[in-house]
Amino acid sequence: MSEIVIDVGQRPIREINEEIQTACKTAKPIVVRNTLSRHNLGIGLPPGVDITFEGSVGYYCAGLNTGATVTVEKNAGWAVAEGMSDGFVTVGGYAGMSCGAAMIGGLIHVKGNSGPRCGVAMKGGNIVVEGKIGYQSGFMSHAGKIIALGGAGESCADALWQGEVWVAGEIDSLGVDVNVVEPTAEEVAEVDAILDPLGLVDTSRNWRKMISGQRLWYFESRDANAWLMI
């Protein structure tokens, strides 16, 4: 089955996204070339679509994805797959700030590192980062799992709400109101089930699972200092 090729260059992004949406109706694989790191490519993609962005993309690529399989060959800018409800997004290199922001379902697989606030305010789905997750990753995450195989930056899992941050490797520092707990064998098996289709299972990992300390769930004036980030 032949693929549909769409060239970006300096053309208007709206025109390109309309071409992508039209191509989505054909069930053929889509390849987007010459992206020049431009923003807002492939927004609101429908289920069943297979789309590849050659090279690097800018902000909000694959935002509001409802089920497409999206591959970004190299780096992604801010908030890749923001607000995704379903689908599978792979970033071959570095994922910029707020990767998977406010996503509610689906899976993001980042092969490199991720920037600050990975999984900020996410409400479902999972994010797997093979490298290190950046500063304040998991900030106010409500649900879902952020799984980092290469360590975490400063203020890890800051103000985490109900989601989970799993880290193998060094953690530079923990954020506010975080509990580090020893995961049970069943919980590790759940994480391995997410990693297995990606070929990333390694039973020798020393996992640390971070969950909310729940002190920020209720405001107590005597605990006001806990609300100050620094």
Partner: protein
């Protein structure tokens, strides 16, 4: 939201044109005003001034008054000043002057007439061009694309904390130090505290723009003997808010980022040449192919990039 950019060339070349491209690509980040700091081939003596008068009907009397202040400090025009006027009330001026006996003393006196005419840059090499409008509009009006030099900064402003005025645009000159300019993306939250403190120390603020604080703060720290590296590091502790700012001097460009890691900076640094911008897609106006892009995304970071050959033939 604002957009910033920096560029360093291996040898003098069309740095103005590159900065216009970097800012045109980021115009959606702020089209209120645009500004450029371009470092041309340095003079051995004399300073290039860029400035702005706020009432073009008073151009002749402003110039006369300004020249008197120069002469009081043992300086005069080395070339006839040139002016750019438009439908707007303000006008922009470029002057070349001989060295005043005491640069800081002259700047202090020149600033007494800043309500009518404001000196916006002074340098052996530095020229700051800024105005209201988008990148191409400002560039066409002031001939920025034709400015030759080794390095420089660019800024697109979306005013969030103060009015849109031509002189409230970036870059800001760290008066009275020649050849020092800053551009800033973010908001300074302890602006009034610092402004009061620096005002009491005798520093004069010419605008209501919170970003001007960084230029004045840097001037103060440099007067206390801090190196650029020390000042950049200290700013992260002392200046509160969200910021990524760049500071340029004759010998290079430095940058600092706040402890919240809010404002991005994307850098390509290869073969002694450098392009930096808030957004990667802007850097790709300079380097269209896939290149090694460095994302300065972490909290509390600083970096300095040096300028190599400043006088080689273009």
């Amino acid at each position: 939201m604002c957009g910033i950019a920096g560029r360093i060339l291996n040898a003098p070349g069309r740095v103005g044109n590159d900065l216009v491209e970097l800012m045109d690509a980021q115009e959606h980040r702020g089209a209120d005003s645009t500004g450029f700091a371009v470092y041309g081939i340095p003079r051995d003596s004399g300073y290039i001034l860029r400035g702005m008068g706020f009432n073009k009907a008073r151009l002749d009397s402003d110039l006369e008054e300004f020249r008197l202040l120069l002469k009081e400090h043992g300086s005069d025009f080395l070339e006839d000043p040139t002016f750019v006027t438009s439908d707007a009330a303000h006008y922009c001026a470029r002057m070349v002057i001989s060295d005043p006996k005491d640069l800081a003393g002259w700047v202090k006196d020149a600033d007494t007439i800043s309500d009518s005419f404001e000196v916006q840059s002074c340098g052996r090499s530095l020229e700051i061009v800024k105005d209201t409008g988008g990148a191409v509009e400002v560039a066409d009006k002031h001939g920025v694309r034709d400015m030759i030099g080794t390095h420089g900064l660019g800024h697109a402003r979306l005013a969030t904390e103060s009015s849109v005025l031509p002189n409230a645009s970036h870059p800001f000159w760290a008066r009275p130090f020649s050849d020092v300019a800053i551009v800033h993306n973010g908001q300074i939250t302890n602006y009034f505290t610092w402004r009061d403190r620096l005002h009491r120390l005798g520093y004069r603020f010419l605008t209501e723009n919170d970003s001007e604080l960084i230029a004045v703060w840097v001037s103060h720290e440099m007067s206390q003997g801090l190196t650029m590296e020390q000042a950049l590091k200290l700013s992260i502790k002392q200046i509160d808010g969200v910021f990524t700012y760049m500071i340029a001097r004759q010998d290079g460009i430095g940058f600092a980022k706040d402890r919240y890691a809010m404002k991005p900076l994307v850098v390509v640094w290869q073969d002694g040449e450098f392009a930096a911008a808030t957004e990667e897609q802007a850097v790709r106006r300079i380097y269209p192919g896939e290149s090694e892009v460095i994302n300065y995304d972490g909290p509390s970071i600083t970096e300095i990039w040096g300028v190599g050959n400043r006088r080689a033939a273009a």
